[in-house]
């Protein structure tokens, strides 16, 4: 359980880090909290020649409000997110999601950027990021690019990020009045990774009609995704318990769920429906609707 030898760099600025990844290309790996990368390196499933530790770039750790949006630096830890007063007030879905990740020690080291760059199929943030219509900001030596969450997750451990790019921040649009959001998850007892996780964001209009809804699902497929069939079923309708249950059954429509030693594909499909319904119910209650 000892990583293969590598050469180590600890840049203090983003520019320096970008130069290093540009110079070393495929042979370099970024290291943030190390809570996905180091386990892989210890198993020698990953053996990079160069490790660029971005953990000392202080400017990438802030959580702030900017231009009507919330901006979360890539190096904010899960604990930073869980404990952020700003997020608790403006975007409680993210602290709620961060609190579900792993255990205290994992939350003290793991980072938002690392989780989103690694894109584990069972990671928690992806569901929330999708439900929030967030934007992912990627920076390379040739400039900065903004990727909408809905396009960001591509396949197993694969995102739109390109070699040489560093995920620098995540931007969250502010949600309006009469909106509520919630994350509900069935966790794998040993690691706490999601066997099925659902984040829902709902805005209610007059008469408790669902004006807008976004549902992000993680843990179920090779990558996190928006449950568009379920969303379409809900739009414009009154948030009644029966409708929510029917829509929740649709969150795996057109999806080929993963099956592994922890849960079969059929089990994940069933769990996704249960946790999506619970997320929707909680989101609607928080949006001001009656407890569904």
């Amino acid at each position: 359980m000892i990583p293969a030898a590598f050469e180590y760099f600890a840049p203090k600025s983003l520019d320096e880090a970008l130069r290093l990844v540009a110079r070393h290309g495929d042979e370099a790996k970024l290291l943030a909290g190390g809570h996905s990368l180091l386990p892989l390196m210890k198993l020698r499933l990953s053996a990079p020649r160069y490790v660029v530790d971005i953990g000392r770039i202080r400017s990438l750790r802030s959580i702030r409000e900017e231009g009507g949006r919330i901006v979360i630096g890539a190096l904010a830890t899960h604990h930073d997110v869980e404990a952020s007063e700003l997020l608790r007030i403006t975007c409680p879905l993210l602290p709620e999601t961060a609190a579900e990740i792993g255990d205290v020690q994992v939350r003290n080291r793991g980072t938002v950027g690392g989780s989103l760059a690694h894109a584990d199929p069972a990671a928690d943030y992806p569901a929330a990021i999708l439900a929030l219509d967030a934007e992912i900001v990627a920076t390379s030596s040739s400039g900065t690019r903004v990727i909408p969450a809905a396009e960001y997750f591509v396949d197993l451990l694969t995102t739109q990020l390109r070699p040489g790019e560093i995920l620098t921040e995540v931007r969250i649009p502010r949600t309006g009045e009469n909106s509520g959001a919630a994350y509900r998850k069935l966790h794998q007892p040993a690691s706490h990774f999601a066997l099925a996780g659902a984040a829902a964001r709902v805005t209610l209009g007059p008469g408790e009609k669902i004006e807008s809804v976004a549902i992000g699902i993680t843990g179920v497929a090779v990558n996190a995704y928006r449950a568009t069939a379920a969303e379409q079923m809900l739009i414009g309708k009154k948030a009644a318990p029966k409708l929510l249950a029917e829509a929740a059954e649709k969150v795996t429509d057109g999806i080929d769920p993963l099956g592994d030693i922890h849960a079969s594909a059929a089990y994940r499909r069933a769990a996704a429906a249960v946790y999506a319904r619970r997320a929707l119910e909680a989101a609607i209650a928080r949006a001001g609707g009656k407890k569904a």
């Binding site: 990583p3 030898a5 290291l31 210890k42 205290v104 020690q105 080291r109 706490h192």
Partner: protein
Amino acid sequence: MGVEIQVHVNGKSFQNEVDPRLLLVHYLREVLGLTGTHIGCETSLCGACTVLIDGHPVKSCTMLAVQADGAEITTVEGLSSLPEAGGGLHPIQEGFWEKHGLQCGFCTPGMMLAAVGLLRENPSPTHAQIRRALDGNLCRCTGYQHIVEAVEYAARKLRAHKR
């Protein structure tokens, strides 16, 4: 190939040249000789290797020694020299003693450091909060009940000490 690091461990300053791939837990045990930090699973799951980095519990098997450069580290050997220990056993150590919070003791150093991390953030934790804070620490012997009581004991003692 070696990288120079400087760390403060239990109040003492150390400077060493280390191989970048050296895990923090191996640095503590093999370079500094602080074998109180245990290695259980080596796969980030058991928490036996938990130490405090700048006051926060971290699994030292899932961190490189070079990542700790400049950090303040507390291991079980340092608990009794923390100010709140008042020169004797730290209240958490006393709690494990008084409440029989251990059997084989293998998980105990990690448990105590996770608990100290909790009590710094939350001096009056509920049972549920204690269990949540120890979620990353496995014990194969006790069934956890006495560990929770040990943490409660320490919380009470620390609150009294503050008054």
